[in-house]
Assembly symmetry: C2
């Protein structure tokens, strides 16, 4: 269904520039499908439609069952007008010609015309299986998954990656809006902690802020007192005095652009000394890593910087033993900082993750097999216009810390007795969205406090019952 865009001319110009840039990179036509609505219970009851990000990048609008064909900087839109019978249920829909005008298409056709214009075109496989079948049928050849494209599809993929890696002004306008609403959502979540009984109460307050701005969530919210479960999607746990609440929640604009923010705060409104001690280590890693962001910097080095700061902090607290540099070499940081320092953000919260590591990893680089590096999603030299997350964390994951092999390997490195004193720190993450600028960086989400005292103020000092 068509969502409203605020500034049609800005969008039109951005779309024109994007396809002109594409024309400089590939000399064959590209066809990008939007995908279709997915049934939930029965055919008429569907999940909210969300177009493929690659389609959105070049077409700008959430159009169902549509495709764009791009060649030499020209855009053709393929879309069927809604049948007259649908007017009763869905109201008057804009006609194909109006939509084509809105996005500055050079021509527009019904879907039935696509087959005759498909020869020799490259594409990217969408997520939904029925549209994938249609892609193969229209192109009259196999279409491999987006993470393993072949021949011209691989060339197109590389070209799209080189475009989407850095953001133009139109994209940045959207990304800033998503960031601003996400900041408001986190403030609402902190404020709601005072009265919420279970995690779901805080989640509801946060998502409500996003929905009230007519945006959606860019990923399933994590709002949990079990921050050590990285992708927890349960919200039924009670909020208890002494718990930390970890909220990883982001907004997505109507046009599909994402934000991704995490804060961790005390349910009672006050960090315990152990929680504060670990929080300050994670915050130091967060602040120092953000300060290091600049064009030309290796993102992997920022990950290792976070690892060193966390190792150092844990040595200072007596949880780890040894020299921080050596500890990172031994992956001891990864006992607690169990994921990478961050990822690309754009039309996807992990931008272009459908391409596997083709987008996140510079050509010629591959995932490390090291325990302390293998989860890194981004391994590139930073360029102006990239938007990345910085999200250091500390977690006590039972599956890691109770693993007999790991316990043996790190027996003398970890002061297990000391660690037991930090049992009330199950998971802490602090995450912001940082734009690489020509001279350094801009934190799009900087209006959300990271400082423990300010956060305590937002949560308030009233403990829930």
């Amino acid at each position: 269904m068509l969502k409203i865009t605020k500034d049609c001319e800005l969008l039109k110009n951005a779309l024109l520039q994007r396809r002109q840039k594409l024309a400089g990179l590939v000399n064959f036509p590209a066809i990008l499908w939007s995908g279709r609505s997915i049934s939930r219970n029965y055919p008429a009851l569907t999940y909210p439609f969300r177009a493929s990000s690659h389609f959105l990048y070049f077409a700008g609008l959430q159009l169902e069952n549509a495709a764009v064909r791009i060649e030499s900087g020209k855009l053709e839109l393929f879309l069927d007008d809604a049948p007259a019978s649908s007017t009763l249920w869905h109201g008057e829909m804009p006609k194909r010609s109006e939509i084509a005008d809105r996005i500055g298409a050079d021509a527009a056709f019904p879907m039935a015309e696509l087959k005759s214009r498909a020869k020799g075109a490259a594409t990217v496989a969408v997520q939904d299986y029925l549209t994938q079948l249609q892609q193969a049928k229209m192109l009259d050849r196999p279409v491999f998954p987006a993470k393993s494209p072949e021949e011209i599809d691989l060339e197109l993929t590389k070209a799209i990656i080189s475009l989407r890696l850095t953001h133009d002004e139109s994209a940045l306008t959207e990304l800033r809006e998503a960031a601003a609403v996400t900041v408001a959502a986190h403030k609402a979540g902190m404020a709601a902690t005072k009265t919420a009984r279970i995690e779901a109460g805080v989640r509801a307050a946060m998502e409500s802020e996003i929905a009230s701005q007519n945006m959606t969530c860019s990923y399933p919210s994590i709002v949990t007192v079990h921050g050590e479960i990285l992708h927890s999607e349960h919200y039924h746990h009670p909020l208890k005095t002494g718990d930390l609440l970890l909220a990883d929640v982001g907004a997505e604009t109507a046009a599909g652009w994402a934000a991704d923010v995490t804060r961790t705060w005390p349910v009672s409104g006050k960090f315990s000394p152990t929680q504060k001690a670990i929080y300050d280590i994670v915050l130091a890693a967060h602040d120092t890593c953000i300060d290091r962001i600049s064009p030309g910097v290796e993102y992997r080095e920022i990950h290792l910087l976070a690892a060193r700061i966390i190792a150092e902090g844990l040595v200072d607290l007596g949880i780890l033993r040894g020299n921080p540099e050596d500890l990172v070499e031994m992956d001891a940081h990864a006992l607690f900082f169990v994921h990478g320092i961050g990822h690309l953000i754009g039309l996807d919260v992990h931008d272009m993750e459908d391409f596997g590591d083709l987008a996140g990893y510079q050509a010629g680089r591959a995932r490390s097999s090291r325990f302390g590096l293998g989860y890194l999603r981004l391994n590139r030299v930073l360029q102006a216009g990239m938007l990345v997350s910085i999200e250091p964390g500390f977690y006590q994951v039972p599956a890691i810390l109770n693993d007999p092999e790991i316990r043996t390997k790190y027996q003398d490195i970890v002061n297990w007795e000391k660690l037991n004193q930090f049992v009330d720190v199950r998971g802490i993450r602090i995450e912001d969205d940082i734009l690489v600028t020509g001279v350094g960086r801009e934190v799009l989400t900087e209006k959300l406090p990271t400082d423990a005292l300010e956060i305590e103020g937002l949560v308030s000092v009233c403990a829930p019952s």
Copy 2:
């Protein structure tokens, strides 16, 4: 992912009774698949998982990539344990054996065992295409869509319909919870109207109430000042003094049971005289139809009763001319009451709509070709234990009222000039969920006011800017 159920023993007993009843209806095994998570942007970013309703009916829990095999009242669960590597991201998951115990399964196996136990089994096609392919592969035969099953699949479908048509105590417990939270959501929506600037603000307040109870929405919310667009999914329109806001929003419990409620209220906190006049007609239809619900009553007659009351009211207002009975015969009510009086409610908001009309229409009955009857989703004799919606409405749909053929046909029936005075009544619907009891009815959503004055009180008299 596994959600928590409150009362395991109640659930276990209900599941046992359901499959024992099934054993009385079919003499072949049935295998029901739950389906899988659907990718949104990329494989790891999925829509919230929702199991097939038929699976939920017999298995009770939202298990991904699972199946149950039911034969002679015995239940076998097929489910793979989560790989150890997933513990980092999703925490410790319950083992197959624990889940089997929780639902009272007689045996439990990994998915790989299903093929050898699939011979001769009937099934129902799920919604997701990849699982459909798996169904056909496991059963080694084609599996047709749920609305057009063949042979034993058709027999199983009829058996499931006969079970799911009426609700047991376990189901009713869930349905009452969904209804209660839905009532709270509507009250929150009315209260939020005072401060919301756009429809999205009211929607956010309503869905937040649902999310805060750890429930989901049972269908995409309709919250619109354009009530004449029956399935509007836009939320960007400003709320203006003089507008009516139509909200069709329902909760779904973690186990999948739905509610479905609509209220229509004035943005300003006060109905105009024209709005009040039409509201009272729709309310009279609503109240009278609910009073008529009883075992043994033809639901179609309730639809026609609503049609007569609406026609009568519109004659009294001078909008229609003629005898109400005759007007209904001529389908004149359907110019404004453009849909059916309601539908079944259960694990689906339109319960078992994946079966097409096999569930909604009694054997031997088919949709009417009449303009004023063809949209009726339920045409059965009511039985104790059925849950149905009653949702009369009045709409001025441009596609209907401006249709030249319709205008000609109803030229002398409609006082078009008089109708013009009611231009501020674009769409009104009042919908509740009614359980057919042994002696009559119980309105599960009765705590939500329908009375115009009470609604005005809830919205408050403060108009938004």
